[in-house]
């Protein structure tokens, strides 16, 4: 993390961001993984993970955030998320029909129960979160390029 006083926001914002952005990421992963036990699920958790990157970009200027996730990495990760969701759906063909829930369903109220639902949650959160980060990168990075001309 750079401490350049000309870019980004003031020192108070930078210090608080450095302390809390890891906690926000951890909270988002918690909501995604416990999607079948408590409210939340893939969509809300994915948007929280996207907000963590947006927070970094707003507080430190765009150079530091682009070093953490460039546009190529963002588009690759999003495609991997979409392909993972499709392959979980196609696995249902082994059971009998499209999208069938075929893994074992353990006892309820445990973390590893409910068949393919936690894996689907992880795939959906990857796709939604990285997609929103890609949208924000496209809105921010290209604006500064235009101003230089």
């Amino acid at each position: 993390m750079s401490d350049n006083p000309k870019k980004g926001m003031s020192l108070i914002v930078k210090t608080v961001t450095r302390l809390t952005v890891g906690l926000i990421l951890l909270f988002g992963i918690y909501i995604v993984l416990h999607g079948h036990l408590s409210p939340g699920g893939g969509f809300a958790g994915g948007v929280i993970i996207a907000l963590c990157f947006v927070h970094l970009m707003l507080a430190f200027g765009k150079d530091v955030a682009v070093k953490k996730m460039s546009k190529n990495l963002a588009s690759n990760l999003e495609s991997i998320g979409a392909l993972m969701f499709l392959s979980i759906a196609l696995l249902g063909f082994f059971g009998g029909s499209f999208f069938l829930n075929i893994l074992s369903k353990g006892r309820p109220f445990k973390l590893f129960s409910a068949g393919t639902i936690p894996l689907s949650n992880i795939a959906i959160s990857l796709k939604v979160g990285v997609g929103l980060v890609a949208i924000f990168l496209a809105l921010v990075v290209l604006e500064n390029v235009k101003k230089e001309e």
Partner: protein, 162 residues
């Protein structure tokens, strides 16, 4: 909520309109909590924050709205005609609906009874969107993918050679 919506439309400054839309969104999140839908409250809160950031990015340092000019009478009449037609259809539909507070539960009764045994997930809303109705989630992932591609195409600067 209605008061904040009226402020959002009639405000002269664009930044005030955006903040008023943020107030409508937060009030909607509280309404979802009162109506016993916790998944939706979490999702609405974070999506509202991201929507505010994107809206402010578009309106900062841009110009303010201008005054109304010309053809004012015709615009008012046509707007009133549209809203009157819509209200007529809405009134016809509202007479047919069940009373507030006792839902019909035609399709959802089966989901409620068999949800835990067939999927093993305790959260019934997640069971509906990822197991009983997984096609809709696939369609939604496609929509997000299409919108990301659309934004990258629209905001591209041609001819950047390094």
């Amino acid at each position: 909520m209605i008061f904040a919506a009226i402020v959002a439309i009639e405000a002269k400054d664009l930044l005030s309109s955006v903040i008023a839309v943020g107030a409508v969104g937060f009030a909607l999140c509280l309404a979802f909590l009162v109506l016993k839908a916790p998944d939706l409250a979490i999702t609405q809160l974070v999506v509202e924050i991201l929507c505010l950031i994107i809206l402010i990015r578009a309106t900062l340092k841009k110009d303010l709205p201008l005054v109304i000019e010309g053809r004012w009478f015709f615009n008012t009449i046509s707007t009133l005609v549209f809203i009157a037609v819509f209200l007529f259809f809405a009134y016809t539909a509202l007479k047919e609906m069940p009373a507030f507070g006792s839902p019909i539960l035609g399709v959802a009764r089966k989901y409620l009874e068999e949800g835990l045994t067939k999927t093993g997930s305790v959260n019934l809303v997640t069971a509906v969107i990822l197991d009983f109705r997984a096609y809709d989630t696939l369609g939604e992932a496609t929509i997000l993918f299409t919108s990301v591609i659309g934004i990258m195409v629209v905001l591209r600067r041609p001819g950047r050679k390094k």
